[in-house]
């Protein structure tokens, strides 16, 4: 924390990071992303979207949270009460554990694990447990079908996601998120160094696989078979109401945002600009003001990627359960394996 010139004890730093992260980054990010997506979706569907709450509907999220908090916290008679209540929190926990690994600047991060992306992929799969127990504990046939579909789907699509990330890890030579950012902004592509080396160019196949897997992990169309509102009513969320439904809802949007953050770190160069623009040589040269500019850069990249995620979501019909399993096991995983192999060979050759 040398750049800030104030000596803060370690626990203070951690607390500042968490508070600053939640208040300054996550809440406004959530509100703006929510509004942006709803407006975007409305314009795609030739309607205005939320217009009543606040100027141009900007306070819609506040209004909806207020509405949901007032509702009664219902649980079905035959539901397994305690597990039914915990399930949404498990899903939300997975989201919050995931955001921990995202770096927003040279020092603006929650933690800096040496194996950051490994941790991220591990905690991302915690949400499966929440969804599965939500489906099982609801004592509802639709919820059960939704929960089982979700479990099958999330497990199937974790594999191509991991394999797509391996390509990045091979190229960066590290699992540390900060190191992945630095490598992308200091290296060059075939001698051209003004752009750095964002992995979206060299790992384009990996990027596509990663984004498809993210879409499936978020259970969004065309992979929204677990929710499938036209057949399973609302899948594993059917019996939830009030703030527990809100937690599922927030977790869904927040996870979309967090996965977009992770994708922009892995493939779009993260918070940094190419170091050659300002003559920096390494992470130590990056000045303190990047701690403020970095989050903005990350935020714009995140908006771009969530736009893509939601664009696909609003446009496509959904796959059938067996079709999406076939797609994962017969197309995505072989493709991701081939991508990993080619990346490894190219890394050795060059």
């Amino acid at each position: 924390m040398g750049a800030l010139a104030i000596e803060v004890p370690y626990w203070g730093q951690s607390l500042l990071r968490v508070l600053g992260g939640v208040v300054a980054v996550l809440l406004p990010a959530g509100a703006i992303v929510y509004l942006f997506l709803f407006k975007m979706m409305s314009f795609m569907q030739s309607r205005l979207g939320p217009m009543e709450a606040g100027p141009y509907g900007s306070l819609q999220l506040v209004a909806e949270v207020g509405k949901w908090m007032q509702k009664e916290d219902l649980a079905p008679d035959h539901a397994d009460r305690s597990i039914f209540r915990i399930a949404p929190l498990v899903v939300l926990t997975s989201t919050f554990l995931l955001v921990v690994i995202v770096p927003f600047g040279p020092e603006a991060y929650f933690t800096n694990f040496a194996t950051g992306i490994f941790f991220g992929l591990a905690v991302a799969s915690v949400s499966v447990i929440g969804i599965l127990v939500a489906g099982w504990a609801s004592a509802n046939k639709y919820s059960l079908l939704g929960g089982l579909r979700a479990a099958g789907q999330l497990i199937a699509y974790e594999l191509p996601m991991v394999l797509a990330v391996i390509g990045v890890v091979i190229q960066a030579g590290s699992m540390n998120m900060q190191q992945i950012v630095v490598v992308q902004n200091t290296e060059s592509i075939f001698g051209i160094d003004w752009l750095g080396n964002p992995f979206i160019i060299t790992q384009f196949v990996g990027f596509l696989i990663f984004m498809i897997a993210v879409q499936a992990e978020l259970t969004q169309a065309p992979f929204d078979m677990p929710i499938a509102e036209s057949e399973l009513v609302s899948g594993y969320m059917t019996e939830y109401s009030g703030f527990r439904f809100l937690i599922f809802f927030i977790a869904e949007f927040a996870t979309a945002g967090v996965f977009a953050f992770i994708a922009s770190v892995l493939f779009l160069g993260g918070w940094a600009v190419p170091f050659s623009w300002f003559g920096w040589d390494s992470l130590a040269d990056v000045p303190g003001w990047m701690n403020l500019v970095g989050p903005l850069i990350m935020f714009s990249k995140m908006l771009l990627l969530t736009f893509v995620i939601m664009w696909v979501r609003f446009s496509y019909p959904r796959f059938r359960e067996d079709q999406l399993q076939t797609f994962a096991w017969k197309i995505l995983i072989p493709l991701a394996l081939a991508n990993t192999a080619i990346t490894a060979i190219m890394t050795v050759v060059f």
Partner: protein, 389 residues
């Protein structure tokens, strides 16, 4: 032992092996009630499914949750009052419900509407078909998870509803058809307006074709799913696009001589050889286009003259029985009217298309997966009011 004997024995052996395997793998089934309150049935239809995993072993539609007793209610009303009731049967294409009843009454009275009224009737009939089927085309996406087309469908259907409102005064329930003609003539400027709207609707059909029918996921969800062969379709009494999608070239607008103006326009009856969900949706899309064409052509051919023949002030229909059916948006819709010479009908039997169309559901749903249940139901396209009456 001949070859056929050996084949037969090996077949029996394989069946027995399958049966043993099935007994070993048998799991507890689950009965799933899809409906009466369910987002997919857009009304109160209940489908009882017995599931093995995600596979439907047995399915049965259970209707009657919205039965309103229209057949009985008509008996206590006079002939002109009946149209108010019956245009609520298929509420999305309500003008088309009035026409066959009025034609049946006219047949009993041995009168015919003047040529101008016949053409306007046909135009309004086709407009209600467009309003009905365009919503189907949008709803199709929602049933499969694509939420955008339905908003486009609602937007463009609104133009058609505005036209119907402009001519009749009612958006949903026009109640415009009268025994012997129509209530009113068309308002000023309506014909030009209709021409523009028909162009918009043609564009809407193109958009839906691009958005949905060209989509690989949509095709993989519908092609080869819920195949109804032509024989089965005939046996279950399917009609309309569901029958034409099975390759049966049958359209009452063309095959029947009625005092309507369909023969004055140049149009085509589309069929599809496949009989699957995709075929049913595709035939409906083409049907909407043909309906636009019919309207566009008939707009140029509206003859001058009155819109009402001479009918007595108090209508008494002579004693007799008449059956008239027309090709409604959902399929064949007919009324069997029995009159005893009173002010109102003695008995009316309503043959609505959706009731017969869902009778094939137990047959076609056997062995499909739960997601396909929704696709097949969506492609069969029923309106709850049309099932339960």
């Amino acid at each position: 032992m001949t070859v056929t004997d050996r084949q037969q024995l090996s077949y029996i052996a394989s069946q027995a092996a399958d049966a043993r395997l099935n007994v070993e793998l048998e799991t507890e089934g689950m009965t799933l009630n899809i409906g009466p309150q369910h987002p997919a049935t857009h009304g109160t239809l209940r489908i009882i499914c017995r599931l093995d995993g995600e596979q439907v072993v047995w399915a049965e539609p259970s209707c009657g949750y919205m039965h309103r007793g229209y057949e009985k209610l008509t008996e206590v009303r006079t002939f002109p009052q009946v149209t108010t009731l019956i245009n609520r049967i298929d509420w999305l294409g309500s003008f088309a419900n009035e026409v066959p009843f009025i034609l049946a009454a006219e047949k009993l009275m041995e009168i015919e509407a003047p040529p101008r009224a016949q053409v306007i009737r046909t135009i309004l009939f086709e407009l209600s078909r467009i309003a009905n089927v365009s919503l189907f085309l949008g709803d199709l996406g929602v049933q499969m998870g694509a939420i955008t087309p339905v908003f486009l469908a609602f937007r463009d259907r609104e133009y058609v509803l505005n036209l119907i409102e402009g001519a009749t005064g009612g958006r949903f329930h026009p109640n415009f058809d009268r025994i012997g003609g129509l209530k009113d003539d068309l308002p000023k400027g309506w014909i030009d307006e209709t021409r523009q709207v028909m162009r918009k609707l043609q564009q809407f059909c193109d958009t839906i074709e691009d958005l949905l029918f060209g989509n690989e996921i949509f095709q993989s969800r519908t092609r080869g799913v819920g195949v109804i062969p032509a024989d089965t379709a005939r046996q279950y009494g399917l009609s309309g696009a569901n029958l034409r999608a099975s390759g049966v070239d049958w359209d009452l607008r063309r095959d029947q001589a009625l005092p309507m103006a369909w023969d004055k326009a140049d149009w085509k009856v589309w069929t599809h050889p496949d009989g699957d969900s995709f075929a049913r949706c595709w035939v409906r899309l083409q049907e909407t286009r043909e309906a636009c064409k019919i309207v566009e052509q008939l707009l140029d051919q509206i003859p001058a003259g009155p819109v009402m023949t001479k009918v007595p002030r108090i209508i008494k229909v002579p004693e007799g029985e008449a059956w008239v059916s027309t090709e409604n948006p959902l399929g064949e819709m007919g009324y069997y009217v029995v009159s005893k010479g009173d002010l109102g009908p003695f008995r009316v039997k309503i043959r609505s298309a959706s009731f017969n169309n869902i009778s094939v559901v137990p047959w076609v749903l056997r062995g499909v997966y739960v997601p396909d249940v929704i696709t097949i139901l969506a492609s069969l396209y029923f309106i709850l009011g049309d099932i339960d009456r």
